[in-house]
């Protein structure tokens, strides 16, 4: 999906000349760091309404269908955490015989990573947690 570069809209404190990366740029960099991990086949970031913000998946992957399911799964994980008073949903992994799907939750949307069966679960989960924290940092309004 085309995701055009947008101009920096503000500057970080302490360095008035350095441009602040846009939110779209942060999305792309966040996903790119995850898809470089060993055993990771690809991933996408999808908003709660199912819009694919950015994706790095092999051509054979059905991106739209996966995005719809990932957004639905992300919302169920958010709602369940809230209803069961388990604190805010952060990350999840679901493994099958041939691989694992990781999901990270943030106010911006859900980071979904598709990985091989023998991937380092703890390593990807830790990296996903960092990615989620980074996405939370791009969110400047209070989420509900």
């Amino acid at each position: 999906m085309a995701d055009p570069q947008i101009p920096a809209d503000s500057k970080p404190p302490g360095d008035p000349t350095a441009p602040r990366p846009s939110r779209a740029q942060a999305f792309r960099e966040t996903l790119s760091e995850l898809t470089r991990l060993d055993g990771v086949r690809g991933g996408l970031i999808v908003t709660p309404d199912g819009l694919v913000i950015t994706s790095e998946l092999p051509p054979r992957f059905p991106v739209e269908a996966l995005a719809a399911l990932a957004a639905t799964l992300g919302r169920e994980l958010e709602l369940g955490a809230s209803r069961l008073e388990r604190g805010a949903f952060r990350t999840a992994l679901f493994s099958a015989d041939d691989g694992t799907v990781f999901v990270g939750g943030s106010p911006v949307g859900y980071v979904t990573v598709v990985a091989d069966r023998n991937v380092n679960n703890e390593g990807v989960r830790t990296a996903l947690g960092r990615a989620v924290d980074r996405l939370r940092g791009t969110w400047r309004v209070s989420p509900v």
């Binding site: 269908a65 996966l66 719809a68 799964l73 169920e76 805010a88 691989g99």
Partner: protein
Amino acid sequence: MGLATFLERTWSGIAGLVKPRSASSLFRLADQYRHEGRYEDAAELITEGLRVSPNIAVGHLLDAYLHVVFREMPAAKASFRRVLALDPYHPRALFGLARIALEEGDIEGCRPFLDRAIQYFPDFPEAKALQEMVVTWTAPVVGASAAVGAISTERLRLPPGAHDLVLTHADGTLVFAQGSEERQKHLGLHMTQVYRIASATLARAGLGAMRRGVIEGSGETTFLRSDGGVILGVALAREVEVGAGLVQVGRLWTDLNIKA
């Protein structure tokens, strides 16, 4: 030239330079901002566009999308319905209402929206993915329970701090759960929905059926195991590592004498 004439000409010139933007151009820019994650900027443009032209379906659709992003579901539902009032067969509005019905646990209410969306827009992979997912679902029978063998919680090797132990059939029928009746209901429904949606996601990615799951919240971590027939879940401390937690849930699986 008198002062009044000068001021009038100056104002006329300024007004001519600053032309009001059309609703369609506002919505186009709002959609671009939405794709860039600039939701606050997009929301302002949509509000302005709908003020100028309140009867444009795409404006209400974008409004609904942003409400979903901000998790304002009643407002999102109202906006999707406004789209349908203007265009009764709008596939994206139908799909949006289907997704909200799904997260409300209204499976029967979800299906007609998906069916209508695909009927009028057959090339709609997102709607087809959800339709294929829910087609076999039945609404969980709230309050009903069924035994899987004899469950003896006394001989379970529950790890320290473990709670919210739940065992449910994949169709949502609760076998066993800890806690109050209300909590048991929520646990059973949530485990079932997570299992169903995660299974559909794994299958769509070509990875097979869900066997294990780990859900990390800011307060605790839930570990899941399933054989396709039943789903076992237990909440442990958040700092428990993935491998250790899965071993714990595996022991419980054995103790419950579940035949994988």
